[in-house]
Amino acid sequence: MDISSVDTSATLGSSALHRVHPVAKLIAFVLALAGVVASSNVLVLAAVALALAAVVVAMRLPLRQVFGLAAYPALFAALFAFAASAGPITAAVLMLKAVTAALTALTLMFTTPYPYVFAPLQRVLPSLVGDALLMTYRSFFLLLEKLQRVTRAARLRAGLVGRQPIRSARAATLALGTTMLYAFDMSERTYDVMTLRGYEQRLHVSMPASVSRSADVLTVAAGGALFATCLAWQLAAPVLVSLAWIPAAAATGLLVAVIIVRRLS
């Protein structure tokens, strides 16, 4: 799990999707996710996954990281499928659902700095929970860096000895313990700073202004289209099942086109 690469892409990237207003992306994300959860047609799910893959490629997001993270839940879905002795198609549906749902979340997270994703959530949560959510993300990077530095020092002091898993684990545990002490001290220092800077109510995140209204509308519409497709095949399955190849083929075509355009440009 690599939260930093997600964050680097979100905060330093500059694709067209990066410039869409966060709220528009959030709405599109919820719509697409609802569609994925509702759908049970393997070809429709594949269509959604391919369409999202086309977006990822078109926006030049880091492919290895996005697809690596998206593939991870397939492991757990496979576990469930195995336990249920599901047939190949049911197993495929289970895994595709898990992967496609993850892909919707990742497309959002790779293009939107976290404060804007968490802010709407923070506003409806109790202040302790919402502020701690934002604080967690801030702290994550400080602690990750600390752990990396401590581990690096351990490595230089022969902490991670090749072919000595027990000694390496011992060193890694000490590094984790040191990081934990730091986390504790850091929270105390943060408390001091909050006192000094007058923390009394909740944290506040100001949303950026919209760059292009039409891009925002287009994004929501795309999310809506994915949702509508999933829903249509669910509600009118007897009629549409035999036509499920259409969205799948369309999405494949889109992905191929995007790849060609990217290669050429």
Partner: protein
């Protein structure tokens, strides 16, 4: 230096009243649980309105303990601390709007998820209307010339940028007192010069009082009007203008504190030749003093 304390209420940003004492630390003792004792005693510590005061001393001498007492994060077991006439450990909320702070670990002081929101943190907590907040933030970012960072996330800024953001967050309320712990740490030479100039302007034009701890002793004459020297254990061994303080290289060395190179040089010269000139603290002054000494 008068004994008048600053009236607690109704400050009006009029900075012309001469030398009010904004901060006073009188012989505070602090015993830490592990047995370490810090005795901020010896000479009294005071900071007058509009002055830039440096607290010098080696690591472990009690510089941070002193700052923490001034900020009310520690409360004195003995002795007295007064900031704007109040006891900060008890009445911090009364005076906090008038004080901007940047501590050492700047990373951990950026509380909000974006630079803009972080600089806006204090005014929003104090209930300043949003339109005004935006103006204040723009002004603070402008002072440090970091407007272009507004939308950035703090964790991928460089160390120097983080320090500037923290400073903007401290300046946003236009404080009358700035407390800075090692303010020049991690800045490249150019940013360092810029910051020294900015602090000089704030003190000269707006009468902002500054208390800065530092171990960068050589550059104290560039950025401080007044200096206190702590010896290990917290004892205040010297106070005065940088020139006065550094003329006593002997006391500093005795207290295991390294004096600036020029101060050490002149002290050594005087030891070898009683006619050697008084300590000069900048290169041009030193050249002039040595030239005169040669031709005398």
């Amino acid at each position: 230096m008068t004994d008048r304390t600053y009236p607690a209420a109704g400050h009006d940003h009029a900075h012309t009243e001469g030398c009010e004492t904004v901060v006073r630390v009188s012989c505070v003792r602090h015993a830490y649980e592990d047995g370490t004792n810090v005795d901020l005693c010896g000479l009294e510590f005071t900071a007058d309105r509009g002055s830039r005061v440096a607290i010098l001393g080696p690591n472990g001498a009690g510089k941070s303990t002193m700052l923490f007492h001034i900020l009310g994060l520690l409360s004195p077991q003995e002795g007295e601390v007064r900031v704007f006439g109040e006891a900060p450990s008890r009445d911090w909320p009364k005076i906090r709007r008038r004080i901007g702070v940047v501590l050492q670990n700047v990373d951990e002081q950026l509380l909000a998820p974006t630079v803009f929101d972080d600089v806006a943190f204090s005014p929003r907590q104090y209930g300043v209307p949003e339109a005004e907040v935006r103006e204040m933030v723009a002004r603070a970012l402008g002072l440090l010339s970091i407007e272009q960072l507004a939308a950035r996330v703090p964790h991928n800024l460089s160390g120097g940028e983080k320090r500037k953001v923290a400073l903007a967050g401290a300046l946003v309320m236009e404080p009358e007192l700035l407390v800075l712990d090692e303010p020049f740490e991690g800045l490249d030479p150019k940013s360092r010069e810029g910051l020294i100039a900015l602090l000089g302007r704030l003190s000269a034009e707006r009468g902002v009082t500054m208390i800065m701890s530092t171990h960068d002793i050589d550059s104290v004459p560039e950025f401080a009007d007044y200096a206190y020297v702590l010896a290990p254990g917290g004892h205040i061994v010297l106070k005065g203008t940088p020139a006065e303080v550094f003329a006593r290289a002997d006391i500093m060395l005795a207290g295991n504190i390294r004096p600036p190179v020029l101060a050490e040089l002149f002290a050594a010269l005087r030891a070898s030749d009683p006619d050697a000139p008084e300590t000069a603290l900048t290169i041009p002054e030193a050249v002039a003093a040595l030239g005169e000494w040669r031709s005398s």
